[in-house]
Structures are given as C-alpha cells and as structure tokens.
C-alpha cells in the first residue's frame, strides 16, 4: 500500500538495476545500423578533477597540492593528451581512449547550480532546466519520440520485468522493463562511516557495537581498508559493478535483446579521505573501470555500435577540504565509451583553475552543458529528432545545440 501518489521527488534508481527499452529505433535501423545505447548514472557526485586531471594547467598543483594527480610520482596518472591525464585506477578506460573508443567531456554540468544531491539527481534525470515537478525522465521521453521497429524479444519478460520502482530517468510514456542482479550489494563503507559518526555523537552503545563489528577504533579508520562482515569491501563493489554493467551489456548485445538501457552505480560522495590515487575513490574508479571493461567484453561484435554515457549530478569542490576530501561542487566530467564513438578526445572549453576562474571561487566552472553531449548522442546515434530533443526531451534547451561529431557514423 502506497502512502500517497508517487511524485517525481520519490523516484529513485535502484543501484545496479538495468532498465531497458525492448524496441529497435526504426530510423537508425533504416540506415542499416543497429545502435546500442546505455546510460549509467553515477550517484553521489563524481570528482571530475580526480578522474581526469588537468595536469597541464599551471595552477593544478597549487590547487590540489599533494592530492593532485600528476604524470610522475608514486602513482602517475595516465596521459590522455598534452593537458589531461586519467586516474591510474582506470587502465581499461585508458586503453579504450587510445583505441578512440572513449571521449571525456570536461568542465561539463547540468544546468543545476545548487548543491543538493537530491535536487541535482532529479534534474540530471528529468532533463528539466531547473528543479521542478516532472513525471518523466529525458531518456524515456527520447524513447517515446523514436519510432519503434517492432519489439525485439517477445520472450523478454523471462528476464526483464516491469520494475517495482521506475527511476525518473526512464519514467514516462515509453514502456520500460527492468532486470536486477541477484546479488544484493551490502551497504557501502561510506554509509557505515556516516553511521559511526552519528552513533559516536548520539549513542555510545551502538557506536561500540558497530566499531567492534568493523574491527576498527576511532581515529584509525582508513576508508578503503575497513572490513566488516557483510560490508561492501572493494572486492564486492567491483564484483557488483561488473555484474550489473556486464549483464546489462549481455542483454543489449543479444540480437533480440533490448537496445537502450539505463542503470545507476552509486557511492561517489567523497567528503573525507577521498583516496584519489590510493584509497576509496581509486577503488571505486577501479570498479567502474572493470565494469566498462565488462561492458566491452560482453557486447562482443555489438561494441562497435555501442555508446555508453556516464553522468553524475554535479562535481566536487576544486580544492581539497579539511578532511582530505572534497565537498559538493559544480562542473565535472562526463564520460562516453563505446565502439561507435569518434573517440580518443578530451572535449573541454577549459575554464582554468585560478581562484577567479573558479565558479564562486570554489568549484570547477561549467563551460559545457551536459545536455549538449546527451543531445548529440541521442541525435546522431539513435536518430532522435532534434526538435523533439529541444522541446520535449530537454525542454527549454533550444539554445543548447547538440554536440556534433561524437559518433563516428554521423
């Protein structure tokens, strides 16, 4: 029994659940193509500067100090071009970039300019220009605008079902089915840490039990090294990300499988002990990297017709905060991977890192609208109608032109 009718604010994407559209886009089909498109929402706000570091920016070292990824040092970042380098935890993404199968769009952001996760995620998924009531998401509205060339797999309901919860990004008029990994991901270390902090303040007994369970003492916690029975250690996160993403790819790869899907991989809110080169973020990025690799492997020959778009609600502060982490920020990276891309490029209208160049003297300034990236992919890969993209998929985005040239076939 529901308490009241669900509103857009109630919708929440189950981490690791794949939502998919069981049709083939007709226009792309008519061109002899059979495109696959997967959207991965990274909830929690990914630190774009720690993922793809502007090592060529003269202010980079000043900004992040010893937390700045560089091309030398103990864990050197992997060079992407003369200016940017990739977090060393992502060798598979680096190889895709070298093979022209990956694009980084840096200093990008949704139109959202506040710093609430919940509103930011709503806006990322709804595709609206500001937080507001929406009953549907941009991906679904894009699908609704595509003429389907028939349902792909009449037996799809064997594995895909109407999801108990439809996340906002795929909610709307187009019918969407879902599949969840059997494995349940245990609560993250980050969640445990937050609870520990609360318990230490409020309930000594609960704190001591949780500490005992976690086999750690106050003040000695090294996030990323903590283990607790049943907790999501780095290995489990890797396994879960890979299973979710890899299975999604298996479905999309099948000749009679779905062609368009969405899933979420959570856990990017790195307020303290971020562990950019070694530690928590490094492990998460490593897990994501393996997930991308699993997608490529499982896509098989369909990989060359694939685009995967990875987006997060906003970025993090440009500077490191007082607890070796970063707080909620603004611009970040969007990642595109897939064999259908004209890849091997970092696309950025780089705003610079001098204090005056930062957004509110705090965050990386957004210079590219994430909607331009998504509109470019939807138009050129799936053949979504450009007018519909401006009016109904991303309402009020007429001024944000689809980014051209992302996809090789376009």
């Amino acid at each position: 029994m529901r308490l009241h009718a669900p509103s857009r604010r109630e919708l929440l994407l189950g981490s690791g659940t794949l939502f998919a559209w069981m049709h083939i886009p007709k226009l792309a089909r008519a061109e002899g193509r059979d495109p696959r498109f997967l959207t991965i929402i990274l909830r929690g706000a990914l630190d774009g500067l720690a993922t793809v570091a502007p090592v060529g920016d003269p202010d980079w070292l000043t900004l992040r100090g010893e937390n700045a990824l560089t091309l030398d040092g103990k864990t050197p970042a992997s060079k992407l071009d003369d200016f940017f380098a990739l977090n060393p935890a992502m060798p598979n993404l680096h190889a895709m970039f070298a093979a022209k199968e990956a694009i980084v769009v840096h200093a990008s952001a949704t139109p959202y300019r506040d710093r609430s996760h919940f509103d930011g995620q709503d806006l990322l998924e709804s595709g609206l220009p500001q937080p507001g009531v929406s009953e549907s998401g941009w991906l679904n509205r894009a699908l609704a605008g595509l003429t389907p060339a028939g349902r792909v797999d009449p037996r799809g309901s064997r594995v895909f079902a109407v999801g108990p919860v439809t996340p906002l990004v795929v909610r709307g008029p187009a019918p969407v089915l879902s599949w969840s990994p059997q494995r349940v991901m245990p609560a993250s270390e980050d969640t445990v840490q937050r609870l520990l902090a609360l318990y230490r303040d409020r309930d000594a007994k609960l704190a001591s039990v949780l500490e005992d369970n976690s086999k750690l003492a106050p003040g000695t916690v090294q996030p990323g090294t903590m283990q607790r029975p049943g907790a999501a250690g780095p290995g489990q996160v890797r396994a879960y990300f890979s299973e979710a993403a890899g299975t999604a790819a298996k479905f999309l790869a099948q000749p009679d499988g779905p062609r368009v899907g969405a899933l979420a991989l959570d856990g990017w809110d790195t307020h303290f002990n971020e562990g950019i080169a070694q530690g928590r973020l490094s492990q998460l990025l490593g897990a994501l990297d393996e997930a991308l690799s699993a997608i490529k492997t499982n896509m098989g020959p369909a990989w060359r017709e694939t685009v995967v778009a990875l987006a997060t609600e906003f970025g993090r502060t440009a500077r490191i905060n007082g607890t070796d982490g970063t707080d909620h920020g603004t611009a970040t990276v969007a990642l595109l991977v897939g064999g259908a891309l004209k890849g091997g490029r970092v696309i950025a209208d780089w705003p610079g890192l001098k204090p005056a160049a930062l957004y509110q003297d705090r965050d990386l300034k957004p210079t590219t609208d994430l909607r331009a990236v998504l509109k470019g992919v939807l138009r050129d890969h799936l053949r979504a109608d450009e007018k519909a993209l401006a009016l109904s998929v991303f309402p009020g985005s007429e001024a944000v032109k689809p980014m051209a040239g992302l996809v090789a076939s376009a």
């Binding site: 029994m1 529901r2 308490l3 009241h4 669900p6 509103s7 604010r9 109630e10 919708l11 929440l12 189950g14 981490s15 909830r43 929690g44 706000a45 996760h117 919940f118 995620q121 108990p164 919860v165 439809t166 349940v184 991901m185 245990p186 609560a187 993250s188 980050d190 969640t191 445990v192 937050r194 609870l195 902090a197 609360l198 318990y199 303040d201 409020r202 309930d203 007994k205 609960l206 039990v209 949780l210 369970n213 976690s214 607790r228 029975p229 049943g230 907790a231 959570d266 856990g267 990017w268 809110d269 307020h271």
Partner: protein, 480 residues
Amino acid sequence: MTTSGGLSSGKAAAALGLHRFGFGPRADTIETIAADPRGALLADLERPNAGQLQAPNLMSSAEAAREVFEFRAERRAEQKLATRQQKQAAMSGEAEAASQMTKLPGADGGAPAQKVPLPQQIILSEAKARFDLAGSAEIGLVERLVWFWSNHFCISADKDAAMVGAYEREAIRPHVLGRFADLLQAVESHPEMLLYLDNVLSMGADSVAGINRDKGLNENLARETLELHTLGVRGGYSQADVTNFAKVLTGWTWLQPGEPVHGGEFIFMKRLHEPGDQFVLGKSYADSGVDQGRAVLRDLARHPATAQHIAEKLARHFVADEPPPALVHKLAKVFLDSDGNLRQVARTLVTAEESWAAPRQKLKPPAEWIAGVIRLTGAQDEIPIGRIMNAQMALGAPLWRPPAPNGYPDNEAAWIDGIARRIDIAAEFAGRAARADPLESLENGLGPLASAQTRETVARAESRGQALTLLAMAPEFLRR
C-alpha cells in the same frame, strides 16, 4: 499528566507512541494523532474486527495440513514411478527412455521441480497477508499485540510448515483483545501447538493405546505451558505438577491429515488419555476427558503467577528491557481484576504514565524494525515478501521459526550485534523504495524525536537511498 518530553499530547508524544506501541509512523500519522496520541491508541483497540486477518484465499490449518499431505504423497509417488521406469529402461537397454521424466497420470505438463513447493507457497501467502497488515495499519498497536502473543505462544515452521500461518490466525488473533483464558485454550488445543510441543506423541502409560503400544507420556507441552505460557519458570510448580498436567493433556491430538474430511483438526482421543483424577498445583481434577485439561488451563489462566509473568513480558516488550516495576504491578493487577481481559490490559499499557515516561532506550527487535523501515519508505508494494523474510532470517529472527519454545528474546543484548547487518538491509530496502524527499521522510518518521545530528546526517547523504538508509539506522529509529 506528563511524559518524558513533558507532554501528553503533541507531535513528540505522537511519535513516541507510534514507535513504542505501533509499527512506527507512516506518511502523516504523527500529525494525525498529535492532538490526542493516547486517544488514538485506545481507539485502535476498539476497532471492529481488530486483530483479525481477512484473507479469503488462505486455507484453514486443517485444509493446509491435508493439502500438504497430498502434495507430499504425490511427490513421493512421482519419484518412485521415475525410479521404477529408469530401472525398466536400464533392463531393456534403452538409455534414452531412462532420461525421460515421467509424469503421474493426470498431472499437468508443467515441470513440478520448478514450481514453488506447496508448503512454501502457503507460508509466503500467510507471511504476505501478515506483513501487509503491519505495513498498512494506521498505528499497528493491535498488530503489535498479535506479534507479541504469537512470539509468546510460539511454534516453528521447522516442525510443521503447513499450519504456522493459520495457527496465528485461528488461535491468536481472535483472542488478542479477548480473555487470556480463551487465548490459552485456543493455543494449547491447536494442532500446530500439539505437534510443535510433541503432545501428539504423548499417551497415558495406563491408557488403552499406551498399554497396547508400551508407550507413555511426553511432558513437553505440559512443561512449556507452565513454564513459558502461564506461570513462568519461578511460578511455583513442581515436577509432579508437570507430570500430572502431562497426564491430563494426554489424548489432546489431531486427526491424521490423510483423513479426507476432518484430517488436520483437533481431536480428543480417549484411547490415548491417562485415566483417573490428577493433582495439579494442589488441586484435584476429576477425569472428565478433554474437560480435565480445559479445567486446568482455566485455573492456570487466572493464577497470580501468570498475571505477573504476562505483565512483565508485556512491559518488557513494549516499554523497556528492565520494565518499571510500577507498570508491571499495574498490568498484573488489571490482568487479575479483570479475569484476564486483554483489552483492558492493553488499555492500561498505553495509558499508564510509566509507559510514556520511560526513556526511548528499547532496541526494536528485527521484524518490528523491518516493518517500521517499510512504513517509513512507503515501499510496501515494492518489496517482495521473500525479501522481507530473507531480511528477518539475516537478522536472526526468521518468521515463525524461533530456535526454541521460549520464542525470540526480547532484549537489547540479543539483537544489538545484528546492527551491522541491519545496515545492509536498510540499504537494500531503501534502494528498492520509491519514496519522497528524505527530509520529508525524516519529519514523517521521527519528527521532533530526530536529533540535530541525525537531521544533519540525513540531509548530507549522497543519495536518497543513502539518506533513507541512514534514517532507518538512526538511533532514534532503532530505539523506541
């Protein structure tokens, strides 16, 4: 009248009342009952059919016992037939034929191995109906009482899975607001209890069947009735009382479920009954067949030790691990004065000043906490009953499967080590939940009970899912 917050009404009292006496708030229940929280709890006790579970699709215990008996018999026959045909095929050298599954005549074409076995189907339906009530109840006080009595008079699906759910509906629910004496009679004569505590095996050594089979007493039911269900372990009974009461109860059994019409029903079988009068607790009970046992139960129900035992357990469950003695005294007195009127006892429980003044220290037991989380997330429809049952199992409290006849423990020490596991379950349910703004959930679920630190922790979460997880795991939500 004052409470811990110095309030007898208002949102703080409403939230406290909902957590302590119900399954926790839903959407706007704090607001709804804030004007008169005690009145709302009292009204819950007066609802028509309070405690009843209306579910026409569920079988009676006897029907379930017969159906499961038939199901098992058919399965055995199928297996036997398959083995027989494999042997035949092997003898005639036809390997191919040996690999073909053979169906019973008249069986449909479906592969039985892939279907959910009937006993499990029954439990799932029963569990769903039960959990739906907890999730949808406005307050849930009467449901909490059902769960309390179900644990007090526990049985186990490990012994018999077919009737566990029906047992609760038939023996517990009709009497949770009635007389304790009637509850006791219904429970101790229910086939599920007779099976669970082995009374179906017991027979008087001097009964006809006992003499013929050279068999005798099984004291299990008699002992646990005295020790756990009524007087309590220090209730002043002796081994002789146990033995004699066991003799009294011989013949209380069930009709084998293979019997097509009344199989699975309670029956008093004189052939098993120890003849003669019996002394129990200093009183002689004439051999009046089944009425001999009924008479002992009547006296046990109104025994002062029973009143004390029940009062302590109720106060411990609802209020505190170390319940206020004044509250226990009040409850025991009402129990005795009203001849075990459980509605009056419940009224006293929810109006006594001590019930409200106790600090919110009681750790919610696993299943109650799960129900509270689901009410908090509003995700009842989104979470399959199988996941809820798995969660109860993961927390060490599988539904209707306590490890021993004393039921699940009711104190913090027993459950607090499971806190780390609760985080995973909270995260799973939060992830499956479609739910409003976490800050709205916080207002709805805790309201004024939320500390500043909890508010801040929830507000700073990295996602709605994490926010809900943290809220469900906040000390104010874990404790009541």
